[in-house]
Symmetry: C2
Subunit: 348 residues, 2 copies
């Protein structure tokens, strides 16, 4: 098992990425192939006394991808960036999975152009883990702005498989994000998606409303990428708001600081429960090799989690499951719905 790490992308690249990759590799005995500027990486190793036993370095020459780059053109303009080179190495089989904390749109475009989607999967979804009490998968969290009901159906099936195979959840509950509980609710896309989801071999629990999302009542939430991205970022915002609220509550004066001491251990548990980085990054579900998007603001600890997740994803056999799904969609339609009207409009 070897994980390719894009060391030059992300808010804290290369320092935190290199640190996380090497500490994680050493701790968990995972081989890593670091893509980036060799002298810079070597300097970081020396300065931080980082372990190098499981490491190789691949020098890239060109200008790297920034968060401001336009996803649709950057992969053509920056073919020698660490991100593009890392994707090429993954394609050639120089590693089993790729972790990058760079520009999400650029990474998706690159993954689609260079690695390619699994044949039969119409759109790849960004599968983000949202920790509200339990880890929930949100797909699509922002890859596809415009979706069809069929796309959402595939996100649901891939999400279910991901929770089963990678997160080890038994019979994961799948919900459709919507503006009401009733079947017919939402735009045409959403009422059609609801109809389709009912026909699939998933544990479909119906629509979930915004109010219920932070309650942790399902395992997989599906939506189009526009809605999903707003939901993902609101969850992040809610987390930041909770932290800000607690800070303002406890750091006012001596009395409140004393109170903070009294709840210290519970505060630590809470912080851990709400920590996104504990669960690694977001995989691109539907791409034919494992590509994990680490959060843009990932620090070393988060990169370690992404390494573990990438290893789990690559060794879980999930890509083969996705291929099976794409090749035999009929197998994923409930028997009573096969060859019916509902299904004809659905996965084919």
């Amino acid at each position: 098992m070897k994980i390719i790490v894009d060391c030059m992308s992300g808010d804290y690249a290369p320092d935190e990425i290199v640190k996380g990759a090497l500490l994680g590799a050493n701790e968990h005995k995972i081989n890593v192939l670091l893509v980036g500027d060799k002298p810079t990486i070597e300097k970081l190793i020396k300065e931080n006394n980082l372990p190098t036993e499981y490491m190789e370095i691949h020098q890239n020459e060109g200008e790297n991808v920034t968060m401001e780059d336009e996803p649709s053109v950057v992969m053509k303009e920056k073919k020698s960036s660490s991100m593009a080179v890392a994707l090429e190495l993954l394609k050639k089989g120089e590693g089993d999975a790729l972790v990058s904390a760079g520009n999400t749109g650029a990474l998706l475009t690159g993954a689609t152009l260079i690695i390619r989607r699994i044949k039969g999967i119409r759109r790849a979804a960004l599968g983000a883990i949202i920790p509200f009490g339990i880890p929930m998968l949100l797909a699509d969290a922002g890859a596809q702005t415009d979706c069809t009901p069929e796309n959402i159906g595939q996100f649901a099936l891939m999400g279910k498989l991901f929770m089963e195979k990678v997160m080890k959840v038994t019979n994961p509950r799948v919900a459709l994000i919507n503006n009401g509980a009733e079947e017919h609710k939402g735009t045409e896309l959403y009422s059609e998606a609801h109809k389709l989801l009912k026909t699939l071999t998933i544990n479909f629990m119906g629509n979930i409303e915004g109010r219920d999302i932070p309650m942790g009542i399902c395992d997989v939430m599906v939506a189009d990428g526009f809605t999903g991205n707003i939901v993902l970022k609101m969850c992040e915002g809610a987390g930041i708001f909770v932290k800000k609220t607690l800070k303002s509550l406890f750091f006012a004066n001596f009395k409140t600081k004393l109170a903070a001491l009294l709840v210290k251990s519970r505060l630590a548990t809470l912080k851990k429960e709400m920590d996104y980085s504990e669960f690694g990054g977001a995989p691109f579900l539907g791409i034919s090799k494992p590509v994990i998007k680490a959060h843009g603001s990932s620090k070393a600890k988060s990169i370690v989690c992404c390494l573990l997740q990438a290893k789990e994803y690559a060794s879980s056999g999930i890509i083969e499951e996705f291929e099976k799904l794409a090749q035999n969609p009929q197998l994923y339609v409930k028997e009573e719905y096969r060859n019916t009207e509902e299904q004809k409009e659905g996965i084919e």
Copy 2:
């Protein structure tokens, strides 16, 4: 000034609605016209020793609207419900504004069919107040599932006027909810809406992402009603999550309960800041008379706030402002954009 109150709709109707209406009327010297079952209301007055100086009662005979009723048909099927009768009374000028805690969809349909929209306003928006540090208006919070850029433009102009005239905010900052900060982001609806908003005489600050919503960085947020409803309910969910979190933090054992005592006054402030009901209900922006939707779970205190808000809304002259806007849309386009391509696709 007389406020019509639909006493038979809402999770805690009629008890809390009647209590709130009469206590509010007495405290703020506002005349109220209670619509509902007279014997029930009179029994409540007697049992709770409620003040009746500013009150009239209008008996309705038919079956009342429930939360489960289908909005598109209920106004035809339940013409004698308290909600339908209250709307008819408002239409006839028997009161200056209407407060109802009932089924949102039914109230909107009723308001549109019975009271009617202002001529030239293409769609009415539900304008919800979201309190994250500051009160922010969200329009549309759920009235219109399918919107055009022009609808969103009108929501922005009405929202700006509401914040100025009713909430007394100077030069309110208007933002478009979207999945990224850049102009071109989002679905076609959102990139077109962004272009249009730039041409209007509003203090447009660009797109706002989900992450920034709980930060209170703008005064008006606009979106289509599907997205807006998910955002509204996620804000509610975030509030519930914060309360649940604080509870689990403080009610664990003796030590944590002691901590709660030490931050007691700050907790109370926090609770007040995050309390939706403090700001009243959600007006239907664009309806030709003031209709205020109280939260379904409104208790007496919240109904008092809605009464005050209805009075403020009715006396602010905002309906006239909306009429001006609908009749002379050119006046609300920045001079440099008048008769340009951007504007042609916009408000006409």
